[in-house]
Amino acid sequence: MSFNGFAEQFPIVFAALNVGFLQTLKLFFVTLIGAIPLGLIISFGSMSRIKPLSGLVKVIVWVVRGTPLMLQLLIIYYGPGILLNNPIWGGGENGRFLASAVAFIINYACYFSEIYRGGIQGVPVGQNEAGLVLGMTKPQIFFKVTLLQMIKRIVPPMSNEIITLVKDTSLARIIALQEVIWAGQAFMKSSHGISGQLWPLFFTGVYYLIFSGVLTLLFGYIEKKMAYFKS
């Protein structure tokens, strides 16, 4: 059976791409859930007064930010099997997803950590001192005075990174994670009774556009919400 007309092909392609995009979304959200807190821990590490610790963390951040995410994906996915003879990820789509999630979380946590560091160090010392002379405790100063100022500072660079993440999820294609690009590409050979079609791959761009468009609006809204003060 083969489908030749676009009208016939579209519903089939659409359904297949939706399944792929679901995997894209899953990788996106899992990465955020892991990298947002891990980034905070890394940023504290790199600001630590213990020199060996901050030095080590800075080297790790340099390596992760200084090498391609695609390479990191390959090393994390194939490394344990080839180097240690211990394929920890297991086979199949679940194993590929797990390896992808680990690679993305580490990579994005390092980027986020630098953004947090800028946000934390960007709040003037005077804010902390003002809180102190007014008799506030350190936790009170953090939660009531500096936290919101930090968040305001990090929202623009974070929105930039997060929109980049939407598109970076496609790199997981290199270890054959069945995300939306993989699903689109499958129609070039043959999939769901459709073969030799290029347009489904091109059509995946629409998914990215819509999703990053929604995020752009969301971050614009958050920035606007915090525009009432300058820090």
Binding site: P124, G126, A130, V133, G135, M136, V145, L148, Q149
Partner: protein
């Protein structure tokens, strides 16, 4: 009785001795101006009084009671320091208002946090109303009732500094310190801030003002200290220090300060 007595206060940063044996006293209701060139230790002295820096040696007495003894400093907990610090208020050169809060909230925030434990159950609304009324009164005293709902970024530098003064007053400190309160302001805005400080002068308000405004120091203060290189070079009434300085360093400083005008 002296409200404040400082004995032999010393402070170094690394090898640099910033405060070398500072001693002076202050009576309740007095306004003390501290003058001197940059780097003479004026600001460090204020920061030691407010525990933003910890003196290396020396003692501070408040109303005759020992408040701080540098030889005991290791025994003070963070909580002790916080309580001691509340005897002093500090108005910064750069205002340091909380940008995310409006004028009213800037003034009430610290008081609300301090009285958090009292604010339970039925009393909560009553105490909150009391804190707010008190803040409104103080904001009125610095002439900013019309700006009570504005955010710091919507105010001029002079207005921001007046809010900072109100914020410090809300905690009713025994001694209110000003660290060059007009140095970050445009010349046309210094007047409004100095006027507010002058109006605060009363039998209840004891003030220490680090300033470069010689006329203000001369006209408003009861006592003037001239600092140079970490020591009190000269102290006395404004007429003594400005009219008849004894030290050569004081004379040279005053001549230079007047030249600038």
């Amino acid at each position: 009785m002296n409200i404040l007595e400082i004995n032999n206060l010393k402070k170094s940063f690394g090898k640099t001795e910033v405060l070398k044996d500072i001693s002076f006293s202050l009576k309740k209701g007095e306004a003390l101006s501290i003058i001197g060139s940059s780097g003479s230790g004026k600001t460090t002295l204020l920061r030691c009084l407010n525990f933003l820096e910890t003196a290396d040696s020396g003692k501070v007495f408040l109303n005759g009671d020992l408040l701080f003894d540098a030889s005991d400093k290791k025994t003070y907990s963070e909580r002790d320091i916080r309580e001691k610090r509340l005897n002093f208020g500090l108005v910064f050169q750069s205002f340091n208002l909380f940008p995310q809060y409006n004028v009213l909230k800037n003034v009430t925030l610290a008081v609300e946090l301090l009285r958090k434990d009292e604010m339970r159950g039925k009393q909560k609304a009553q105490i909150r109303a009391e804190i707010e009324q008190n803040a409104r009164d103080i904001i009125g005293r610095v002439g900013l009732s019309a700006k009570i709902n504005n955010y710091p970024c919507e105010l001029s530098g002079g207005q921001q500094q007046r809010v900072a003064i109100a914020r410090a007053l809300a905690l009713k400190p025994n001694i209110l310190c000003f660290d060059e309160p007009t140095s970050a302001l445009d010349p046309e805005l210094t007047g409004e801030v100095l006027r507010v400080i002058r109006e605060l002068k009363s039998d209840d308000t004891t003030m220490i003002i680090v300033t470069h405004e010689m006329e203000f120091a001369h006209n408003v203060s009861d006592k003037v200290i001239f600092m140079a290189d970490g020591v009190i070079e000269e102290q006395g009434t404004p007429d003594e220090v400005f009219g008849n300085p004894k030290s050569d360093k004081t004379k040279a400083f005053l001549v230079k300060s007047l030249e600038q005008i």
